[in-house]
Symmetry: C2
Subunit: 336 residues, 2 copies
DNA sequence: TTGTATGCGTTATCAG
DNA sequence: CTGATAACGCATACAA
């Protein structure tokens, strides 16, 4: 008979207790900061625990405490490379608070209902919608009682029960339009992404509103239909093909950087337009790629790090559960 | 007293059982496919369950079955936009099998040890390393008995206990070099990323080896040190500044597309080099951005979708737990 | 300070 | 086919 029996299962608190000659509750105390336990017991437990490689089972703890420290993050828009930044900063913010992200991919084979159901059944503490194209009716259905609380990041929520943390569209568009107007542009155009999301973002609306103050009555829309550089290329290509140079816009403001990069690309490569002399372009997001010398894109930086932190503060109940608008920063570059 | 008491807690199997007049075990059976239960009971249970909005608690199930259907995905390289594609396809592949990804961000405030510990404590079924710069010694420490099995995606594993699914570096580099050689290039250079990862990827090694067959003895290395377009820009800038045109390489093969885009950018924008006449550039990954007309980058497409599916098959024990090399596809564009 | 009983919501196993 | 007992690993409340 071997001295040490190698067990296939993980060592539990009971294993440690037996080995240390105490009850399993004492073991639990050793791992609960601030619980009353003698220094002697604690040391004895820790020694054995370390030797046996014991780590509390968070699953069992969650079942008992009814809190998992897990947050479902729903994403359905992987064509937009800026999502990676959002994920980076959101996961970082979550992890500094001991929370972890459950990344749920919404797509062809996995719809919103599935995602909500899955998150709910796994008892996540909250669900974060990451700039995805949710319809209000979809959200409404996910608001059953007993369901994890919903939050929206990087998009304004229209539902007061679902707080959002986003970049202030009004403030940002004022800055953008003022900048463009001061540069002398007077024939703006606006490129939109997915219809449902575009209206929710409100960027187009505010953009047009501020131009009106500058005497510009109408801002033509160029609809890409998706946050995808190809969609942007297609949309601008069609516009440029069907519009005589004299009738064209002189500056294109895009709903985000993905669209802007695609636009610059087509305008320059396929139509030989100079940026910004023939067509100025402005983005939105402040993605790192916008800063590439080849694009040199003027853009409005969303304070993603702060947005993520703010959202997490809300999750942790250290801040009122209520929508927040944060100001960003206009980054003027050569494209305007 | 109200007729219906709205409970704050979620409805459990017991609630349904009482309401349906059966035992809770019968309720469980109704939700367990293939279990023996009378059609009558099943219907009765389902009716009540639906009315009460009952959904099995997956946490409790996991505790009992000792399997969570959760997979930890460790990422430490968010500057590389191709990670988004990896995440998209990996989560999709996981979800089609009923698995869900726990995204763990490794960075300044959360190191590898933390990540492994967290994943382990949460009882994930497996841990997937997503092309991150893990040192072999780090991995060794994470291989304690009772720990979730490790897998590596998009990078070759040197440890036989940790299977990997990756794109065949040798095959791909042969294709790349043959293509470049046939185009007449004879002064190749190679741009690397993080040192530890570069050696693990083996792309540089195979690249040099195939050039040797073409009579090219040495391939200068341009070290970016990170998969970051800025790092690439800096590295190439320094090289071009310090190297006379006559002494320069005529084609730059980059360890991945991120580096390649940065390289094209600097070469063209800052040094006025024409691509490919003055300097040809080749990437690796097959990222969508490489296809932008402005870059028109020749690249080697990794079969990420297939790689993700293969990895998941391994996770599901439908395929031998052993490293797999998959062939990709050379996409020839204007940059070479 | 420490041990005991009980509960979290399921599944596994066995008896009827 | 159905009900009952035990177990999963931990936390909470209480008693000693």
């Amino acid at each position: 008979m071997p001295e040490v029996i190698v067990m296939n299962r993980k060592t539990t608190a009971t294993d440690v207790a037996i080995e240390a000659g105490v009850s399993k509750w004492t073991v639990a105390r050793a791992f609960t900061p601030g619980s009353s336990i003698s220094e002697k017991s604690r040391e004895a437990v820790m020694l054995i625990a370390d030797r046996l490689g014991y780590r509390p089972n968070l699953l069992a703890r969650s079942l008992a405490t009814k809190t998992t420290h897990q947050v479902a993050v729903l994403v359905d828009d992987f064509a937009n490379f800026h999502k990676l930044v959002s994920l980076e900063l959101l996961t970082a913010a979550l992890q500094t608070e001991g929370l972890v992200a459950m990344l749920i991919h919404i797509g062809k084979h996995f719809d919103h209902a599935n995602a909500f159901l899955n998150a709910d059944q796994r008892q996540v503490d909250a669900i974060v919608l990451l700039g995805t194209a949710f319809r209000d009716e979809t959200l409404q259905g996910a608001m059953k009682p007993g369901t994890p609380p919903l939050y929206v990041l990087a998009r304004e929520s229209t539902n007061p029960d679902i707080p959002s943390v986003s970049c202030d569209a009004k403030v940002s568009m004022r800055e953008i339009v003022n900048h463009l107007a001061s540069k002398g542009y007077r024939r703006p155009g606006f490129m939109t992404g997915p219809t449902s999301l575009s209206t929710a973002l409100g960027r187009q609306r505010h953009h047009a509103a501020f131009w009106r103050k500058h005497g510009v009555k109408a801002v033509p829309e160029i609809a890409a239909g998706a946050y995808d550089r190809r969609a942007s290329e297609d949309a601008l290509r069609e516009y440029l093909r069907n519009t005589q140079p004299a009738d064209r816009i002189d500056v294109l403001v895009c709903e985000n950087d993905v669209l802007a990069l695609g636009a610059i690309d087509v305008a320059r490569t396929e139509f030989g337009l100079r940026i910004p002399q023939d067509l100025a372009v402005c983005g939105y997001d402040g993605n790192d790629l916008a800063g590439m010398p080849i694009f040199d894109l003027t853009t409005y930086e969303q304070p993603m790090a702060e947005m993520a932190r703010t959202l997490v503060e809300m999750l942790m109940d250290r801040r009122e559960r209520r929508s927040v608008l944060l100001p960003g920063r206009l980054i003027v570059r050569g494209s305007t």
